[in-house]
């Protein structure tokens, strides 16, 4: 079966990143040092509820947008 430290390539906010396989989106945010309560995650064009971040798993080729509020008029 798969070896322990398999890397998968994903796209976050337009940039490619290689991360360990088998992570949840919550793991990903932790790794990125982001507070889940202050950001919104769009996963392959679907917005994730905050409550589903723990369950959602990251797969190779996934596209994420992680957004938050900034100043705007």
């Amino acid at each position: 079966m798969s070896t322990t430290s398999d890397k998968i390539r994903i796209i976050i906010n337009g940039d490619e990143r290689d991360i360990d396989a088998g992570k949840t989106v919550a793991d990903l945010l932790t790794e990125l040092n982001l507070n889940p309560r202050l950001v919104v995650v769009e996963h392959n064009r679907e917005i994730l509820d905050r409550s589903s971040l723990d369950a959602a798993r990251v797969a190779a080729g996934d596209v994420f947008e992680v957004v938050h509020f900034v100043g705007g008029g």
Partner: protein
């Protein structure tokens, strides 16, 4: 407003007095008719003090990518007290209805509110709205339960259709976003207000306090602005000026101005002059 003042033994003959009713958008009663943007302040500190000076309760925010390379959180939420200020996510920067709908959903997910300031921009140089795209996005968002406050052109027909589409407020422009040119077409704004039932807020173009005052004198329900405060030399003082100007314009509208005349009328009696 001023309460009735008794002054002694005269039989007080009451003058007609107007009474205002508060602005209600999507069922929420607002004490202020001023909405401010959160963009372009020199610092978050200045912004927060400006909001206090203006006593605003609704501010717009934009949805943008988190900068993954910064260690420190830079979102604006950190600086605003959600207990006291309602966040109004915008769809600024969106050039299609689809894009605006996506941004609206992201904004809703990011805060507890289903209010959205809908913008579908048609042109990069002028940031003028695409009224067809705006109408299309408004229909979709209303169907999804959003309370849509729609930025639009000073276009009566489009304003009527946005109302028909279920928008919670219609927000025609005074002039181009960030231009500071003031209320260019008072006739159309007045007509839009006259014809719509939902609140009409004027959004974009106000440059200084008198622009806000003139806009309110047309009878509209409120004003949304960003640059006029953020780019003033002293944003905090300008924020205060805007608060007062909007109240002044509202009261003047309610009070009913004197007629304009191209001839003088004396303020002092013309008879009774010693000879």
């Amino acid at each position: 407003m001023a309460t009735t003042i008794s002054h002694g033994g005269h039989g007080v003959q009451q003058a007609p007095r107007v009474e205002d009713v508060p602005l209600v958008i999507a069922g929420r009663t607002l004490r202020s008719r001023l909405i401010l943007g959160t963009g372009k302040y020199s610092s978050n500190d200045v912004m927060v003090r400006a909001f206090k000076a203006a006593d605003v309760e609704v501010v717009t925010v934009a949805v943008r990518r988190v900068n993954l390379d910064r260690t420190q959180e830079e979102g604006i939420l950190y600086h605003l007290d959600p207990e006291r200020i309602l966040l109004l996510p915008n769809t600024a920067g969106c050039y299609t209805a689809d894009e605006a709908v996506r941004f609206a959903r992201l904004g809703r997910a990011a805060c507890s509110s289903d209010w959205v300031k809908l913008e579908v921009i048609g042109d990069q140089r002028t940031l003028l709205p695409d009224v067809a795209g705006t109408l299309e996005a408004a229909k979709t968002l209303v169907a999804e339960g959003f309370k849509v406050l729609a930025y639009t052109n000073d276009d009566l027909i489009t304003a009527l259709r946005l109302e028909d589409a279920g928008c919670a407020a219609v927000m025609p422009l005074a002039s181009m976003i960030g231009s500071g040119l003031g209320l260019v077409n008072p006739y159309t704004i007045r007509e839009i207000k006259r014809r719509l039932t939902v609140p009409v807020l004027v959004d974009a173009g106000v440059g200084t306090a008198s622009d806000a005052c003139i806009t309110m004198e047309q009878g509209v329900d409120g004003v949304l602005m960003n640059t006029a405060v953020a780019e003033a030399e002293d944003p905090v003082t300008m924020a205060r000026a805007m608060k007062l100007a909007i109240e002044a314009g509202r009261l003047a509208y309610l009070a009913g101005r004197m007629p304009r005349r191209e001839v003088a009328v004396p303020s002092s009696p013309t008879s009774g002059m010693p000879s």
